[in-house]
């Protein structure tokens, strides 16, 4: 049976990018559609009726949503170049770091990005505390997955380009090389890895987009109380 693999994503979504990466890293043939979230396609709404979000992977007509669920599904279905180790304990560690990335790192960085004034200072402090755990985890490792890119690297990979975008918009350095030597090295190595390096959305376009997203927060904070 001919395999049909379709990925619904957007040009900028880091979650969609994860799914894009794993399919490319495994050499899977697929089509992708960049959705306009202000005008969601009937296919998207039908494929992800619960959340109506991207990414959605459609494999031979069957839709799978939630980026980490997609990563595990792709890893199990196409066995070449595995992203998860064999050993159950190591798999649990990999899943832990992927989840930590989404639950804690993403949230703390986002807060540092949108908050203003004193709240921003506190948010930046918290983000730095969170990032320290990542720095610690990279000791003795080239990637979070060890010698090669694994599930947690794809899950955390958004750091490699979006941190630069956020830093440019807010005018504050979040990941300083002196404080985070290992994390900085990882970001560079990941960003330049084969497949990954060809996939980054255009930097300037991201800066424009996130600057626009930040505007209402800046405006609200500027209102007299």
């Amino acid at each position: 049976m001919a395999e049909e693999v379709k990925l619904l994503k957007t040009w900028s979504s880091p979650f969609g990018l994860r799914a894009f990466w794993i399919l490319k890293l495994k050499g899977v043939q697929f089509d992708f559609i960049d959705e306009d979230l202000s005008n969601k396609s009937p296919l998207l709404l039908q494929s992800n009726p619960v959340y109506k979000k991207v990414p959605v992977l459609i494999h031979n007509g069957k839709p799978i949503s939630e980026s980490l669920v997609i990563l595990e599904y792709v890893d199990e279905t196409w066995k070449q170049n595995p992203l998860l180790p064999e050993d159950p304990y190591e798999r649990a560690r990999a899943r832990f770091w992927a989840k930590f990335g989404d639950d804690k790192v993403l949230a703390s960085i986002w807060n540092a990005f949108i908050k203003q004034g004193k709240e921003q200072e506190e948010a930046i402090g918290l983000a730095i505390e969170t990032l320290k755990f990542l720095e610690e985890e990279l000791k003795g490792k080239r990637f979070f997955g060890g010698e090669k890119i694994g599930l947690p690297d794809l899950a955390l990979g958004w750091l490699a380009n979006l941190i630069g975008v956020f830093e440019e918009v807010i005018g504050v350095k979040l990941i300083e090389k002196e404080r985070f030597p290992l994390l900085s090295a990882w970001m560079q190595e990941f960003a330049e890895a084969p497949v990954i390096k060809e996939s980054w959305p255009p930097h300037e376009k991201l800066v424009t987009k996130f600057r626009a997203i930040r505007e209402p927060y800046v405006a609200a904070a500027a209102q007299p109380k």
Binding site: P49, I64, V69, E72, R91, A92, R95
Partner: protein, 219 residues
């Protein structure tokens, strides 16, 4: 293969998921009750990032985050019984709903820590969440896992016990039988599963404990 220890807490649905999974697989383990107001040095050492329960320790190696623990248990002691579908797509569906439970569960808990208008808003959101679970998550199945319970049923284990406790303390009914017939049937079936029936959480103690918690939160 190594000793199995579980650090848990008597009133936590996250802790119970792991107890139920271990018991379903007939895995011998030692249970350590943690006092969360006075966490043991061992817990802090095993889970330095979150400092939370449950933590499963197998052969000295700690695993935290309840659903990650459950996947670990499933992979380390496969079958007897199978707790995730063997088909990849069905497995992805199970993981999707597990994530849904993790993401939306806290919204429902918010009813317990809010009052007035805010509580009303949360109540409405919660009803929508339950509606989605009833219609899209469970559908026509007996259990989320099909004919038998699996990890997804355990992920929703907060509903049969903890939701009822909250409803009783707050004097409000979220999960009305005529509005959510499938979930009601599922709750009944879930509680009848022998491992679950033999290892229920302490409802009476929870009523007392969560009542006083609610008192403190409101004052």
């Amino acid at each position: 293969m190594g000793e199995v220890n579980l650090h848990g807490e008597w009133s936590s649905p996250f802790s119970y998921r792991v107890i139920w999974a271990l018991k379903l697989k007939a895995i011998e383990f030692e249970y350590i009750e943690e006092d969360l107001s006075n966490k043991s040095p061992l817990l802090l050492q095993y889970n330095p990032i979150y400092k939370k329960i449950p933590v499963l320790v197998h052969g000295g190696k700690p695993i935290s985050e309840s659903m990650i623990i459950l996947e670990y248990i499933e992979e380390t002691w496969p079958k007897n019984p199978l707790l995730l579908p063997s088909d990849s797509f069905e497995r992805a569906m199970a993981r999707f709903w597990i994530k849904f439970s993790e993401e939306k569960g806290p919204t429902i808990w918010k009813i317990f820590v809010t009052s007035g208008e805010e509580q009303e808003k949360v109540k409405n959101e919660s009803l929508e969440i339950l509606r989605t679970i009833e219609e899209k998550g469970l559908g026509e199945k007996k259990f989320f896992g099909g004919e038998n319970i699996d990890l997804l049923d355990l992920a929703f284990g907060w509903m049969p016990y903890w939701l009822g406790v909250i409803e009783e303390i707050l004097g409000l009914k979220l999960l009305e039988a005529d509005k959510f017939p499938r979930l009601h049937a599922w709750i009944k079936n879930f509680k009848q599963v022998s491992i679950i029936k033999d290892n229920p959480p302490d409802r009476d103690r929870m009523l007392i404990h969560f009542s006083s918690l609610r008192e403190k939160l409101l004052h």
